[in-house]
């Protein structure tokens, strides 16, 4: 059983930032990622990030990804790729399969940054080839450089649905429409404007009834809904599409935390079931920290800041020093993203989680 100081599970924006921050404070870090290249969602986010200069605003996701990878290399952080963590056992023991070899690690501290998975949406025919998550489609076009279809229907008008629709235009697809069951869009108006002025219609109070096709998607039936979200069947309309993307939210990938015995709570504005954690990003299990979408669905920018926060917290604990100043900076930058009509709800949910942590977790 190999002993480690800090093991970070998941090399996306949160995991990379945590590794960099902890390594800078002299912590011996091991970063695990199941893919052949770390970066998580960064390398499929070809749009410019929001925020301010401190958040690397205006820079495209994959450029930020490259920067973080370079920093990881320069700091000589130990990175195991193609390594799947299959188990988070008691007393911070980790089971990893690395290139088909089973390795058991024991770590003083663990930061879990496994991100999130897209929510499915079941409608008749939703299992046909040609129906996929919007993030999955984003991976196909921006990372695998393959168009999974030419005529696209996007379900969901949150930022993911709107941004991926725009990126489908960039990839040369024809976006036949975005449908949203609510009477108003979920994402930023600027993202909607970006695709509307290129002729992409956004249908509100509209849902999907069916994906058509025997072997794969050949069409779809969309239909307006009344105030109780019931489809008004006589107004349904068939549209000619061969790709249907589902952008109806994300859910944190909690399996490892559940196995480790972490306590959870339910916060709809943060993606549903979320592990309880304190201001240092530590969960209810001593020594296990979380960061990024796993601790609540937000954006890559907040994922990077939470990664830094977790990295600094672990460094504080292992080095027995205080990095209060830097952590306050991180919290300030995090707060920048958690105000305004969009951010406010998330900030309140985060504060509720931290309050509930101190009520339920007695150290």
């Amino acid at each position: 059983m190999e002993e480690k100081e800090l093991v970070i599970i998941g090399g996306g924006p949160a995991g990379l930032s945590a590794a960099i921050e902890a390594r800078k404070k002299g912590v011996d870090v091991l970063l695990l990622d199941e893919n052949l290249r770390p970066g998580g969602q960064l390398f499929k986010q070809i749009h410019r990030f929001f925020g301010s200069r401190e958040h690397m605003a205006g820079v495209r996701g994959f450029v930020i990804g490259e920067r973080l990878l370079n920093e990881v290399k320069e700091l000589g952080i130990d990175v195991w790729l193609n390594s799947v963590v299959y188990g988070l056992f008691k007393d911070n023991v980790i089971g990893v399969v690395k290139e088909n070899k089973n390795i058991i690690l024991k770590a003083k501290c663990i930061i879990v940054a496994t991100g999130a998975i897209e929510n499915p949406l079941s409608f008749h025919g939703w299992t046909l080839p040609g129906v996929m998550g919007a993030g999955a489609c984003q991976t196909m076009i921006n990372i695998n450089r393959v168009l999974p279809g030419k005529k696209v229907l996007m379900i969901g008008s949150g930022n993911v649905g709107l941004i991926v629709s725009y990126q489908l235009l960039q990839a040369g697809a024809d976006v036949c429409g975005v449908i949203e069951i609510m009477p108003n869009i979920g994402g930023y108006l600027v993202h909607a404007a970006k695709i509307k002025r290129f002729g992409v219609p956004i249908y509100l109070s509209t849902t999907i009834l069916e994906a058509e096709g025997k072997e794969e998607v050949e069409g779809a039936v969309i239909c307006p809904v009344d105030n109780d979200f019931k489809p008004i069947l006589r107004k349904r309309k068939e549209i000619d599409v061969d790709l249907i993307c589902i952008a109806v939210g994300l859910t944190p990938l909690n399996e490892l935390l559940y196995q480790a015995g972490c306590l959870f709570t339910y916060k709809p504005y943060l993606g549903g079931t979320v592990a309880l954690h304190n201001a240092d990003m530590e969960t209810s299990v001593n020594g296990i920290y979380i960061a990024g979408d796993l601790s609540g669905i937000e954006e890559a920018s907040t994922a990077m800041e939470e990664g830094k926060l977790a990295g600094l917290s672990v460094a504080e604990r292992l080095n027995g020093k205080s990095y209060k100043g830097e952590k306050i900076d991180v919290l300030r930058r995090l707060n920048d993203f958690r105000i305004g009509t969009f951010g406010e709800k998330r900030r309140i949910s985060k504060e509720e989680i931290i309050k509930e942590y101190y009520e339920r977790v007695k150290d």
Binding site: Q170, A193, R197, I339
Partner: protein, 169 residues
């Protein structure tokens, strides 16, 4: 089917939109950003300090229309692609609009096409008068095209019609 409709009324008297008078004077930035999103690259990029967001960064960008020269540096800096430069006096009968452009095929000077409004509906015909290639600004090009003056508050996009069919399929 109920559609999301976007038109000039969303933006007209908001802090990022130049007044009628300023528009008639010469090229000026038009910022169509009306939600409290945490974002301020436009403020940072403007060489004339004509855009103010301040703190917190969710404030709406305010255009100081006197300081703004219409230089267009902010067009490619905006992550939301929500800033244009309007030149009401492009010519005697025409106005021109500079828009951020990130699609292929990238237009060339002299291309003609149809001008679309904020809902993507046809408004009139237009001609590309100037382009800044995408490589200049981290792969966001700028396309300036002219169109009949009276549509200056409506036209927000251009679809190339006769451009060389260079698409990638």
């Amino acid at each position: 089917m109920k559609e999301l409709k976007i038109d000039a009324s969303f933006y007209l008297n908001k802090s990022g939109y130049p007044s009628e008078g300023r528009v008639k004077k010469g090229p000026v930035a038009v910022i169509e950003c009306i939600e409290d999103i945490p974002c301020n690259p436009c403020e940072a990029i403007c060489p004339f300090g004509a855009i103010k967001v301040g703190f917190p960064i969710t404030n709406l960008p305010e255009l100081d229309e006197e300081r703004c020269t219409g230089c267009g540096r902010c067009i490619t800096a905006c992550p939301g692609l929500a800033i244009f430069v309007l030149n009401y006096n492009f010519s005697e009968k025409e106005a021109s609009l500079s828009i951020p452009y990130e699609l292929l095929p990238f237009p060339e000077k002299g291309d003609t096409g149809i001008c679309l409004d904020r809902d993507g509906k046809y408004v009139c015909n237009g001609k590309v008068v100037r382009v800044i290639p995408p490589e200049k600004n981290h792969m966001t090009g700028v396309v300036t095209f002219s169109f009949p003056k009276k549509y200056y508050n409506i036209v927000r996009s251009l679809k190339i019609k006769n451009g060389k069919e260079k698409n990638n399929m």
